[in-house]
């Protein structure tokens, strides 16, 4: 009875507006409240959101239809409807967002941060925006949250960032802003097409999906969507903002950036690009697969040469996100090569989704590890470290585990996604398989070499003698992350069940020729 009552509440709206409103509340009223109070308040809010999210997961039905949907007329003259709803793609990402925010809240507790209230409220507001974006089923609502998201991130990097923060944050902002204006044009264009062809035009994504587009329209829309989301992923030629942003961002900012905001790109591909312009996606899929492979191989080598810990992990993020785009566009290509059931085709998309979730955990964990080191020595350069294992054995264990998960060790979540995608490449082209699997070598090269230089050997820097091992907050965070990474690696089937129907629905849209 109680469950039914709760389920009838507008839960998605709660998930969006509770963090935003409490963030604003904190910004206005809790400036003088003291660090402890602010931390506890934000942690409470994020845990409440996590609880709501768990409830949603628990009540989620394994179908492809939009669930928990809400629909209110918002700006009828613009054709904008406040329309929310989640399916198998958005639910895992929503859960990831809520979960990682809690992690960030716990892990930031031990750090000394100036302007605490503003810091935590930025994160809360950002969480609200991201949840709104993942749960939007109206393109305009998606866009509004997508672009609003820039503002808190801009401030997080700009205010609490490192030495070169201004360059990094303005680059981040302008890059993403550039992508998002193209997205805006594409959305408006689609809306005007619906206006011409349907009686009640709207920005509804389902309407966009059923829109018939000719090939030249599809190609233009494809490029607009592609550039917008490729910047977010980021894919190879558009990636240069990411290392800068990561290096300068505070630890919490890096975690959110790597774990959540990069997924927006992949999610955008799934939501907009593949179902709305499937034929153009097919035409360009070989090109995008090549770009992804360049990201995987070339960026892997770039990561090998990095002197800065955060930069190394940022490049490894780009390389791993290359797998996501690879998987997604393999599924575009496959229907034309393989005659079989959906199972073969779905492998790429499911692999990409798993890769996104697992990369969320792993990269978040790795950035937290760098944050732990940075808090102690105030430097991110690899050459200043060495022999940390002598003073921080517990940390060394966790760090090794996360590094191995990043490489894709079987048994960790990193393995599942990469394995599925590599399997999917077999069905298309053996050369792709070869190139994609080089990541296993390059990845282990840069991760393990970095690990060796930082953790092993003799202590070169005297300050390392004074290192104390992980404190309780860090231990909690790392333990939770470890558990999740292992669980997802050993038993990923709940996640598959969650998104299976949605994946099939997406494949149906991809296969159906739109012209």
């Amino acid at each position: 009875m109680l469950m039914l009552m709760i389920a009838s509440l507008p839960l998605l709206s709660f998930l969006i507006w509770i963090p935003i409103l409490s963030g604003v509340f904190q910004l206005i009223f809790m400036k003088q409240a003291g660090k402890k109070n602010i931390e506890s308040f934000s942690l409470c809010i994020s845990i409440i959101c996590l609880c709501i999210c768990i409830f949603i997961l628990y009540n989620f039905e394994y179908t492809y239809v939009m669930q928990f949907s809400e629909c209110y007329s918002w700006l009828p003259r613009f054709g904008i409807v406040y329309r929310l709803g989640i399916d198998g793609f958005s639910t895992p990402l929503l859960a990831l967002t809520c979960f990682m925010t809690v992690i960030v809240m716990i892990s930031s507790r031990s750090n000394v941060i100036k302007n605490t209230a503003e810091y935590y409220s930025s994160f809360l507001i950002m969480q609200g925006f991201i949840c709104g974006m993942f749960s939007a089923s109206d393109a305009m609502i998606f866009y509004i949250f997508f672009e609003s998201l820039l503002i808190p991130m801009f401030f997080i990097i700009g205010i609490w960032g490192g030495k070169n923060k201004i360059y990094a944050t303005i680059k981040f902002f302008l890059y993403t802003f550039f992508g998002s204006v193209l997205l805006l044009v594409a959305i408006i264009y689609l809306y005007i097409l619906t206006e011409a062809r349907y009686e009640n035009p709207s920005f509804s994504l389902s309407l966009f999906r059923s829109l018939k587009l000719n090939i030249s329209e599809q190609i233009w829309l494809f490029w607009a969507f592609f550039i917008a989301f490729a910047i977010k992923v980021p894919m190879w030629p558009f990636h240069t903002w990411l290392p800068d942003a990561h290096v300068e961002a505070p630890t919490g900012g890096s975690v959110v950036l790597a774990a959540i905001t990069l997924k927006i790109g992949g999610y955008g591909f799934i939501r907009f690009l593949l179902p709305i312009v499937p034929d153009a996606s097919f035409i360009f899929s070989n090109m995008i697969i090549c770009i992804s492979l360049i990201a995987i191989v070339y960026i892997g080598f770039v990561a090998l040469m990095q002197k800065d810990l955060k930069k190394l992990i940022a490049y490894s993020s780009i390389s791993h996100m290359g797998f996501v785009t690879l998987g997604l566009f393999l599924s575009c290509l496959q229907p034309h090569y393989v005659v079989g059931d959906f199972r073969d085709i779905s492998m790429g998309i499911e692999g990409a989704m798993i890769q996104m979730i697992s990369h969320g955990f792993i990269s978040g964990a790795l950035f937290l590890c760098v944050g732990v080191l940075y808090d102690r020595l105030k430097t991110k350069l690899i050459k200043n470290y060495g022999g940390v294992i002598n003073t921080m054995p517990v940390f060394a264990t966790f760090f090794l585990f996360f590094a191995l998960a990043n490489i894709g060790l079987p048994g960790t979540s990193g393995f599942v996604g990469e394995f599925l995608i590599i399997l999917a490449t077999f069905k298309v082209n053996i050369l792709y398989t070869f190139l994609a699997s080089t990541t296993l070598v390059i990845g282990s090269a840069y991760m393990l070499w970095m690990y060796k230089r930082v953790m092993f050997g003799n202590i070169k820097n005297k300050a390392i003698f004074l290192f104390h091992d992980l404190n309780i907050n860090e231990k909690i965070v790392f333990t939770i992350l470890t558990i999740f990474i292992i669980c997802l690696g050993l038993w990923p089937s709940p996640l598959f069940n969650l998104m299976h129907e949605s994946v099939n629905c997406l494949i149906y849209h991809i296969i159906e020729c739109k012209i």
């Binding site: 400036k31 918002w74 700006l75 003259r77 613009f78 866009y143 509004i144 672009e147 609003s148 820039l150 503002i151 801009f154 401030f155 700009g158 205010i159 923060k165 201004i166 944050t169 303005i170 902002f173 302008l174 802003f177 550039f178 204006v181 193209l182 805006l184 044009v185 408006i188 264009y189 809306y191 005007i192 206006e195 233009w220």
Partner: protein
Amino acid sequence: MIVQELLLVLPEIVISIMACLILILGAFLKKKDNYIIYYICLFTNMSIIYIINILLEYNIDDKIFDGSISIDNFTLMLKMIIIIFASIIIICSQKYISGISLYKGEYFTLVMFAILGMMVLISSWNFLTLYLGLELLSLSLCVLISLSRKYFHAQEAAIKYFIMSSVSSGLLLFGISLIYGITNTIDFSKIGLILNNTELQNNMILKIGLIFIISGIIFKFGAVPFHMWVPDVYHGAPVPITILISTLPKIAIVGIFYKLFIQVFHNMSHVWCYLIMLVSIASIFFGNFIAISQSNIKRMLAYSAIANIGFILSGTLVSIEHGYIPVLFYTIIYILNSFGMFLVIMLFSYNGLESENINDFKGLWQKKPFLSFIICVLLFSLIGIPPTAGFYAKFLILRSLVESGHVAFVIFALIMSVIGGFYYLNIIRVIFFEKQISNINVSINYGLSNTGFYILIVNGLCILCFGIVPTPILKICMLIL
């Protein structure tokens, strides 16, 4: 009959009588009694708003004085908006102008005459009234700019403005004479009728005349080929005058554009469309690019104004098919934004000490968090990022542009707005990310009274609220049309 016609222009009559009265009063009053003028001025404005309100109830749609003036809901609403804005500007600038010893009769008289000029301009229905209104407006503005005789910059700006505005008036008159030569009339309705003739639409002299008229009006707008005066005037004039120049004439000119292009010259759209498109592309391009290198915030806002005018013009480009609402919406939101930004500048200037260098705002956030938040909202709205009202303004214009197939233009405008993002972000960077420097004059003296400060805050919050629910502004726009 005459009485009825006079009643319809009662607002103009009241304002001209009161302006003369204030001038006489100003000559006799002692310096410490000047506040009387201020209250008379406000009272006049209130009464005019009241009169317009009454006139609005009658749903008038009339051409009076042999068709030289048209009064309808559109003109009345625009007049009302202008009067309301003007009153707010007068209220806000009270403290600042007494700081630079301008708090006297001339100032108020000239402001009133400028308002009168705009009102005549909006309600003009033949070319002579249009010219009259435009000249009254620019002459008053010119004197207002040079009113603070101590400042060299102001004098320079005034001379520049005067010379260039005379040249543009010359262009306008020449254009009018050409059109008169072909059509044998200066009445808008008659010209509109004559232009239904397809042969005349391609008449070369008519085309040239139209081009001259457009250039004459665009000068007052400050769009690109005629933009040279904008940065100098914005920089040189006292801040209240800058606010006046940067906001009110835009409404008036958007109004006259509507009349000229949509109601009179709509058959000549093949001529003015290309022209306006060219002007708007050039304005967006130059405005945004030159603004990047500005270190003076007033000049930067001037170039950003040029870029925004480009956007407004691009909206008029497609307004025949898709309505004028996007243009009005954009104009109102832009005016709110620029009004807010200049209020911020005014807040930090007093007794001739202007904090107009961007670096003067360094680290403002640590000292004034709430004010910085408001500035931040205003700037994000200027960039056009949700959840601020600027986003919807941009969105509406772009939607009508895409609808009529100008996709390439839209992409160009958007890329330019990304470039524009850079210089707005630069201010945010200075306010939020830079360390405070000790010798700033920020927050030592305020050029804004408490009322003005509250108006600034309300303005900022309005921008934010309209960003979440823009329907009120939209309703106003629909009421106007």
